[in-house]
Structure formats: structure tokens, C-alpha cells
Symmetry: C2
Subunit: 222 residues, 2 copies
DNA sequence: ACAGTACTCGTACGTTGTACGAGTGTCAAG
DNA sequence: CTTGACACTCGTACAACGTACGAGTACTGT
């Protein structure tokens, strides 16, 4: 009768979507197989027909998240192209704060991940980087994207746990850690624009450095 | 009779040391409260007298690991000083592969961590960076250290899971991901020196960029 | 109508973190 | 020596987790 499967029927897509919703809303620890099944209005074990096990579930979720990222294209301005993918990846990962840790510690690499990597590598090679430099550049960029994002979601989670305000100076003695005190006050001055700026600052640092390395030793023309 | 507590008595130090040993040897997943107690020759619940709960245990472990890291000092060559802390942190984290993820996702900041941060911030301020630039520089450096290290331990673990050799080209179609294939072969050319070089490459990228930003806008003399 | 396939789910098991409270040893004061 | 307080150990028990197993149900093509 129904050409579209009734909402009571499950599917891998519905399972993954519900799992992502739970993780986004209540955190990755709240994502239980039973809780996921409940959200889907199904029995606990029904999920296992569409997903091999929890690792497979997590892998599928990460896959979808990575799929949201904008791929590096072959526009003439390679720095701009890389900046766009990097910023896109950063923003996507901030939308799904649980994903970054999974991406870095997860078991396997998904197809979407391979596509993302390949696009970035292609962008670098197209810009004239040698295979060796491309390799190094890729890891420098990826480290910054992942490292910065993971740090940001980490302290965001920490902030929430500590309550709304909780004077920062209660956490440590400004006498013992004078530079840290200054650093904390620095962070309280600006809000979101400051954090975003920090990501782009480090990104520009890496990109500018890469540009200099490129002009110092341009790749051999094939 | 015994001035030194008998080895059958536990202590927070003995508990944390045993926990780190288990995590280093068998991975963080093998670290169970029961397994830890067994290693200590004690009953499962005895551990809880010296440690509030598992989070406290993990926090204490991370604290010890961070304590191993070489602090940034005030030597005249600030780039060299930062390179030393960064490399030290990288090496320490490679000795304890489980620690990086905990450091970035863990609940609270420990005293050792605060000391480490303060030393690095102090080094930057001493080099003449303004508070704003110091803030940005610190996060750029930290992101690279953590991001690169976490990526490295991640793929190391992944490699072990995949078995000894397992031709890389079996993982994806070189036709579909040509740049990725080149990247993989690039990685197989050199061994350990290549990976270490990649960390220092990204580090130099950041440090060189910071030096340029510094000379472009030197900090105000206090 | 029937066989087969696709899918659902109730029950049950092993493992985990840890709350609870009863035990043991040591030591200072009476 | 007795007594009580304290520091510390640990056996039992429970709730929550991932998931193996197999019986149940619904849909499909013949």
C-alpha cells in the first residue's frame, strides 16, 4: 500500500539520524542503544538489524558528519580554498561536539573521510606542492583543525559543568600563575568573535608558512 | 615496626602508578577498577578509599603525565624554548598514548596542567608578545601539539588493529582517490624519522609565523 | 494459499562503576 | 590493659550497559 516505508519501520538512515540527534542534544554519553531504540519507538534489539554494533553506529554517525563538510575545490586561490574547507570542518564539528573525539580515536576511516582527505590533498598538489610537502602540509592543517576544535569543545563542556559564572580566579591562585590569570582575563574580554578569530589566526599562521615553503621550493612540473 | 608502610598497604601514589602501568601496557580500555585492584593485590573496593571515583583516577593519571613534561623556561631564544616544551609534551604523550584524549576531553584542569600553561604563557610574554598575541599564539601551539599527537596515536592504534602489513591499497580504490594513494605511499617511504619530522615541520610553521607577527607588532614595554 | 525473506523484539548473560556497611588493624588516652 | 576513635580493606549487591540468541511477525513473490 505505502510506497514510502511507514514511520514505524526502521532503516539505517533513521537510526543514524536519531542517534546524531540524541548525541547533539544530550551528549554522547546519553547515546545508549536502549535510549536510541526508545527514541525510535522500537524495541532495544531492533536497532541491531540495521547496525552491526555500537562501533558501527558511531562510525556511521561520524560518516554523516564528515559528509557535511565542504570539500576543497580547485579554485585558483589555493589558500582561500583550504581556508574554506578548514573553516567548514571546524563549524561542522562545533555543531556536533561529540564527533571530533570520535573522528580522531575512532576505529576505521569512512568513505566520506577519504573523500575529504583526497580533496584536500588534491588542492595542495594542484597548488604546486611536491608530494613530500603536500604530506607535511596536510598533517599540519589537519592537526590544527582537529586540535583547536577538540580543545574548544572540551572547554565548552567544562564551562557548562562549572555552572554559569563561577569566577575564574577561584580556580587558581593568580599569585602562583600570573600569566594564566592574564590569559583568563583575555578570554573574558571578547566572546564568540574572539574564539572564531583564534581559529583563523592559527590557520593563517599555517597557511602563510606553507606559502613561504612553497615559493622557496616549488614542486616539479610533471 | 615498619617505618615505611608495608607494600600491602595502598596509597594514592601506588594506585595511580599501577593504573598508568596498566593503561600504558594494555590500553585504556583494559583499565578497570577490578583489574586495577587485582594488579595491586587488593580487593576491588579498596581502591575507592584513595580515589573518589574513576574520573578522579583518570584525572590523577593525567596529572602525573603532564608533570613529566618539560616546562618552558625563560631562555633568551624563545623559539627554542617553545620548541623544547612542545617536543617534550609530544614525546611524553607518545609514551602514554591514552593520555592525549583524556587531556582534551577530561573534566578538570589539574595543577600540573596549570603550571605547564603558565610556563608557556610566561615564555611568550617574556619574548615580547602582547597579551592578545600571547593568547592567540598559545592556542595555535597547543592545538598543533595536541592535534598532531592525537592523530598520531590514533592511526598507530588503527595500524595495530589492521594487522602487520595489510596492503594500504586494499583500503580504497586508487582510481577514486588518486591523491590519497600518493599520500599513503609517501607515508610508507620513511619510518619514524618521517613522522617526527612532520611534527616539527608543523611546529616550525607556527613558530616562524609567530615570529613574523611579533616583529610586525612588538609588545609594548611595561 | 504458501514458502521464504525481511524485520522486530523479549529474555538473558557478562561486564562495568560504585553504594553500603561490616570487617580489620593501629594507636592514644584513660 | 581497656577502650574508643580512626584509617583502611573488602564482600556483597545493584543498576546500567552492550549484545547473543531465538522466537515471533509482517510483507513479498509465486
Amino acid at each position: 500500500m505505502s510506497s514510502v516505508p511507514k514511520p514505524s519501520r526502521l532503516s539505517r538512515e533513521r537510526v543514524l539520524a536519531a542517534a546524531i540527534e540524541i548525541a547533539d542534544r544530550d551528549g554522547i554519553d546519553a547515546l545508549t542503544m536502549r535510549r536510541l531504540a526508545e527514541e525510535l519507538g522500537a524495541g532495544a534489539m531492533s536497532v541491531y538489524y540495521h547496525v552491526a554494533n555500537k562501533d558501527d553506529l558511531l562510525g556511521g554517525m561520524v560518516d554523516l558528519v564528515v559528509g557535511e563538510m565542504e570539500l576543497a575545490d580547485g579554485r585558483p586561490d589555493w589558500k582561500e580554498a583550504l581556508k574554506r574547507t578548514a573553516t567548514s570542518a571546524h563549524e561542522v564539528l562545533l555543531r556536533h561536539p561529540w564527533a571530533t573525539a570520535l573522528l580522531l580515536t575512532g576505529p576505521g576511516v569512512s568513505d566520506a573521510r577519504l573523500r575529504y582527505m583526497d580533496a584536500m590533498l588534491g588542492c595542495l598538489r594542484g597548488a604546486g606542492f611536491s608530494p613530500e610537502l603536500t604530506d607535511l602540509a596536510y598533517h599540519a592543517l589537519d592537526s590544527h583543525i582537529m586540535g583547536f576544535t577538540l580543545w574548544l569543545v572540551g572547554i565548552s563542556a567544562g564551562m557548562e559543568r562549572l555552572g554559569p559564572i563561577s569566577n575564574v580566579l577561584d580556580l587558581f591562585d593568580p599569585r602562583e600563575f600570573p600569566h594564566l590569570a592574564e590569559h583568563a582575563q583575555q578570554h573574558l574580554r571578547e566572546r564568540q568573535p574572539g574564539e572564531q578569530g583564534a581559529f583563523e589566526f592559527g590557520l593563517d599562521l599555517v597557511l602563510d608558512g606553507l606559502e613561504r615553503r612553497l615559493s622557496a621550493a616549488p614542486g616539479a612540473a610533471p
